[in-house]
């Protein structure tokens, strides 16, 4: 809706990325991404389709949610995160800083940088594990 131009760029990038993924068998001996499995039997769309198009779906849903308040769960970013959470040894979901994070497992390999998690929580739940203090401390000074 808003950002067709950006979507186009992403489109090109996604095409390249999927090309790389589909050519994987050709690179024998090259380390391949180890993509963790999500919860449940299958994803909301076919895996191949998702590999190529997940960004379009997320972008579309993003504008629908932000501007029109549509909050269906099928293509919701939050549900992606919930379903694809990767747990560490202590059974705590890892965040995007961890190379094992679901999105990292592919994006690091394909060297496609994403900035989603500069703002979005990269793991399920109300995450209060940040380094900031609660705001109240700052405000009580005045």
């Amino acid at each position: 809706m808003q950002s067709t131009f950006i979507t186009n760029i992403t489109g090109i990038r996604t095409a390249l990325l999927s090309l790389m993924l589909f050519c994987l068998p050709a690179f024998a001996g090259v380390p391949t991404p180890d993509i963790p499995k999500g919860k449940g039997d299958k994803c909301v769309e076919e895996t191949d389709f998702m590999r190529k198009n997940h960004m379009e779906l997320i972008l579309h849903q993003r504008d629908e949610t932000v501007h029109r308040g549509i909050r269906t769960k099928k293509h919701s970013f939050k549900e992606c995160i919930n379903c694809h959470a990767v747990k560490d040894d202590d059974n705590v979901p890892v965040d995007f800083k961890n190379p094992k994070h679901f999105c990292n497992s592919c994006h690091t390999f394909a060297a496609v940088k994403i900035d989603c998690f500069e703002c979005h929580a990269s793991r399920p739940g109300n995450d209060k594990r940040g380094h900031g203090k609660t705001n109240d401390s700052a405000m009580s000074k005045h």
Partner: protein, 414 residues
């Protein structure tokens, strides 16, 4: 009038490279400062949730406003047909483009998300004056570029007047747009005034002219090309008129504000008890930046001297920066009046004069914008024929009484 010969400067001297290197270092520092600011976030600057626009914006708006004014000389030549200014027109166009680029760079580098510039270029909110300005600035670059081409390409000379007129109109709209960025902020007592736009236009004449004179004198001194007093005295007289005009409109601005009761608080702040802002207004903007240069530009003792003209220009620029600081920062420092008749306090600095202390990275970024403009001019006059070989009186002034010796068309060395 003698035919004017334009020639690139040679630009091979040590001094030329030292100058380039100097600007390059300043730009490098500015880029490092930007990286530091963007990497850590703006909390390392003096800017806050109260003073949201800081020193970078002072420099950026100053440069953008001056850019429009720097085109004055070309406009006078082509639109008003004053042939004496014609030799200076190409340089005037170049300086205009360079100053605008410098200002815009600062503006962009200060964004919270400069990486999203593409978003700003592809998503326009046509209600936003800011978005219009993006359009106005790009248009300005194109029109002035075409104008330069018309002037510098012989075959195209015949169109230069028409394009010159377009450029003239465009830049007036552009400065109106820049002024309106502030003029439309109804929320703030300091800005909400229609007079902002004409004030910005006059400011642009004055700042642009001061910068133009400095660059002109600098490049002729540096290249050893002759620069006669005829050119200089015309320019400095114009500068004097512009400085006086700004003084006048500033007076009108404050007097009308004093007439409207709701603006008394802000007027008292700027004119009487605003601390640094009061000092900047009376001490720097009015005294140093307006009255003293006016005196220097017209006093018989100093008006002929290149040195005093230089000093006057520097003072006008200093005063201009102080004026911008007063408008941009002073306007934000003064508290918003949300509840008239009440004394207000909160954890978010309601009801208090907001504190601001500019940080080094911000200043470096602002100064970097100036360096970007200057390096563009320095390189520009080397690669293209912007500068007349000579601006000696005999060449420029139609009424000049020919002196005995001929002005030799000596190749200037830089």
């Amino acid at each position: 009038m003698a035919k004017i010969h334009y020639r690139e400067i040679e630009g091979n001297s040590i001094n030329y490279y030292i100058l380039l290197g100097f600007f390059a270092v300043i730009i490098a520092i500015a880029l490092a400062a930007t990286y530091y600011m963007e990497h850590n976030g703006h909390h390392v600057t003096g800017m806050t949730n109260q003073i949201v626009w800081g020193v970078p914006h002072v420099f950026a708006v100053f440069l953008i406003v001056a850019a429009s004014g720097a085109l004055n000389v070309a406009s006078i030549a082509s639109v008003f047909g004053k042939t004496a200014y014609k030799p200076l027109a190409p340089l005037s166009g170049l300086v205009a483009i360079a100053l605008l680029m410098g200002g815009l760079s600062v503006l962009v580098l200060d964004l919270g998300r400069p990486d999203r510039l593409i978003v700003a270029m592809t998503n326009y909110n046509f209600k936003s004056i800011f978005a219009w300005n993006i359009f106005l600035y790009n248009g300005f670059l194109v029109i002035v570029g075409v104008y330069l081409w018309m002037m510098m390409e012989h075959r195209m000379n015949k169109y230069s007047k028409a394009v010159g007129f377009a450029a003239f109109t465009w830049r007036l709209i552009l400065t109106t747009g820049t002024g309106s960025i502030f003029g439309f902020l109804v929320a703030r007592q300091s800005y909400d005034a229609a007079i902002m736009a004409p004030m910005f236009i006059l400011m642009s004449f004055s700042f642009g002219m001061a910068i133009f004179i400095l660059i002109l004198m600098g490049s002729y001194a540096g290249t050893g090309r002759p620069l006669g007093t005829a050119v200089l005295s015309r320019l400095k007289n114009l500068l004097g008129v512009f400085v006086a005009a700004v003084l006048l409109i500033v007076a009108i601005f404050h007097l009308t504000n004093l007439y409207a009761t709701e603006h008394h608080g802000f007027e008292q702040f700027i004119l009487l008890n605003g601390g640094i802002y009061t000092f900047l207004f009376w001490g720097v903007q009015i005294l140093l930046g307006s009255l003293i240069p006016l005196f220097l530009l017209y006093s018989p003792a100093t008006r002929e001297s290149a040195l005093w003209i230089t000093i006057s220009c520097v003072l006008v620029i200093t005063g201009g920066l102080a004026q911008m600081y007063g408008i941009i920062i002073g306007g934000q420092a003064f508290p918003l009046n949300m509840f008239p008749g009440f004394e207000v306090s909160s954890s978010f600095f309601d009801g208090v004069v907001n504190h601001y202390s500019p940080s080094m990275p911000e200043i470096a970024l602002g100064v970097g914008g100036v360096a970007i403009a200057l390096i563009m001019v320095t390189i520009g006059i080397k690669v293209l024929r912007f500068l007349p070989l000579s601006l000696d009186d005999a060449i420029v002034d139609p009424h000049y009484k020919p002196a005995t010796e001929e002005t030799a068309e000596s190749e200037a060395t830089a």
